[in-house]
Amino acid sequence: MGGGSAGWLTAGVIAAEHCVGSNSAVDGNPQSDGFQLILVESPDISTIGVGEGTWPSMRSTLQKMGISETKFFRECSASFKQGTLFSNWLGGEKQDSPDSYIHPFTVPHSYADTNLAPHWQLIRDQVNFADAVCPQSALAEGHQAPKKISTPEYAFQLNYGYHLDAGKFAELLRAHCVDKLGVTHIKANVEAINSAQNGDIASVVTDSAGVIEGDLFIDCSGSRSLLLGEHYQVPMCSKQKYLFNNTALAAQVPYASPEDPIQSFTLSTAQSAGWIWDIGLPSRRGVGHVYSDAHNTEERARQELLAYIEASAGKQAADQAMVRKIQFDPGHREKFWHKNCVAIGMSAGFIEPLEASALVLVELSAAMIAEQLPANRETMDLVAKRFNDKFLYRWDRIIDFLKLHYILSEREDQYWQDHRDGASIPDHLAEQVALWRHQSPWHRDTAHVDELFPSASFQYVLYGMGFETQRSATERRSEQQAYQRAGNLFQENAKRTQQLQASLPTNRELINKIHTYGLQKI
């Protein structure tokens, strides 16, 4: 239930895995049975369209659905996202020059078998962490793309996700789901819900498409949370005590010239009581200020946003900016799968878009449903329990990781001081940070193989923010050997960085070529 990116992504992921609708016959096995996948979308509700940044996981999600990356670039105003660049998070304007660091999507060189972080500690005065261990941050300066026109679709020289126009993205997914994957699209408003004796949802009653029965109902109705929230009254767990931001002011900003560079990263610039996102699409930028209304007035937040737009795009752009206000309760539902209903997207929860976790949660939720689709009603409760455990864990890790960005700041505004207040820091995170004072995060800092944020992400944020991990007082037997190996790896990284800088086109050059020639599938 519900269109938008969440609804159509979920439909696409499930329909790409299972035999669905009229396409249900598998090649060479016309007898096989599929099921019907119906997406009911209200014709009256517009999609919110904020989630414009994705993770690298979106590449495989799109590829599995059978969407051409060329088509995706052309139809969704897509550009490459190679990570996030954080400005002024550490000290704000009080320092001589604005501080900044990059959290790139590429893990440090040889991360699987070598932890370079302790070795970088010895040279931290000479080079920043990201530049020392990964080529991606240095390529930002030239606004360079993560691949070439001769690189096949979805392949890369440097790992990447996307920036995209969410409205166009939902439309592309809709067309693909309906035309290629056999999803049935019904435009109607849901007016009532019929319950079964066991409390399941038996059917939904619509205004113009009659009664729609179903075995499993997926609630992608957005923040209204029509099924899980309104019907089942599954309560919200507020996370505002950890992450204060609950309001966003969003605007679209044109480029001064159509040849202006397209940023490789989502820019995140700290403000007095929040931060401003800045996402470069080929055709425009999406800019927004997300802040805590307990710490800032709307008026001041708006001024900060307009000042940012004016500084980067000129006074005219600031004067003409149409600012849209979005309010949200940071947090998630107590559980996501209840009876035969599972919520995905904003109906499950929403948190500030600091690490663009919204769409990846949709991808992961849809993928788990597609993979674990209950064989019958008896097993559904077991799958639901697994699903809830998995995603409650994931929400906790997201909150930990987002919070990590704040607690290392030295900014002195009340908002930032409140963020460093011990009562606002989740215990699990506080424990980890205490440990990281004495050992660098590495593979053992993540408990699961399918962890949302790899330990490399902790490294990039910690050391980007100037965090110090103390050197061990005692020596290990392998120290000398490891030291030499690290030196070689740093050199290899510098060499590879130079090679890539010399060979990769700019984002705009490559995107123009994709529009003209397209990427090859192989």
Binding site: K148, S150, K513, Q520
Partner: protein, 244 residues
Amino acid sequence: MSNYVILTKSAHKDTKVILDRGEAYGDKVKVALTFPQEFRNIQSCYPIFFVKDGETGQFYPAAIFGFEENENLFLTDQGWDATYIPMMIRRHPFLIGFQPGPNGEKAEDNPVVSIDMDNPRVNSEKGEALFTEEGNQTPYLEGSIAGLETIHAGHEHNRVFLEALLANDLLEPFTLEITLNDGSNNQLLGYYTINEDKIRDLDGDTLSRLSKEGYLQAIYMQIASFARIRTLIDKKNALLPKSQ
């Protein structure tokens, strides 16, 4: 650098073109673009693979002369050691250019023959003349212009040929690792070829369509050209220092 000018009777009546083959004339190249029209001749001498244009990412078929950059194993002190030399090699120093016509024709509809005056083949003393004493085109120039026209048509042929191959999912990446007689390894990297199994699995309608458009023959010429990899290896081995 190249310096292409439009070929005219008046400006080029004394111009001559050296036809010798050699490194000095820019013949030391690893690959040359080719076209289905000359596949029959190409496959009798060289392997044909598909490569991507670095600027556009688009595929084109290429005749392969060596393993490394600027390696042409067919080039010897005596010239080019093969019975057929690809048209894209023979075209030099000429090129088809485009310019708006005198009667308002659009540039893309008005091909003109250009000559690269900085090409080392071009001079006024040695080689083949372009025009006769009477100012007529020499048979050499006539042949060259006919070649340019074939090339011009060949680019369009390549485009539709590749479209047909890609639409039927017939290309696949191809890497060849060979060990020479001295134990050293050489690689053919970054090439694409036609997947024979997929050709075999095509349904009758598709096969018939490919055949009618002349693609099926080109497909099998490319597959047959695999045998010429042996020629490359033999030539490379022959260059190794003789063992005691």
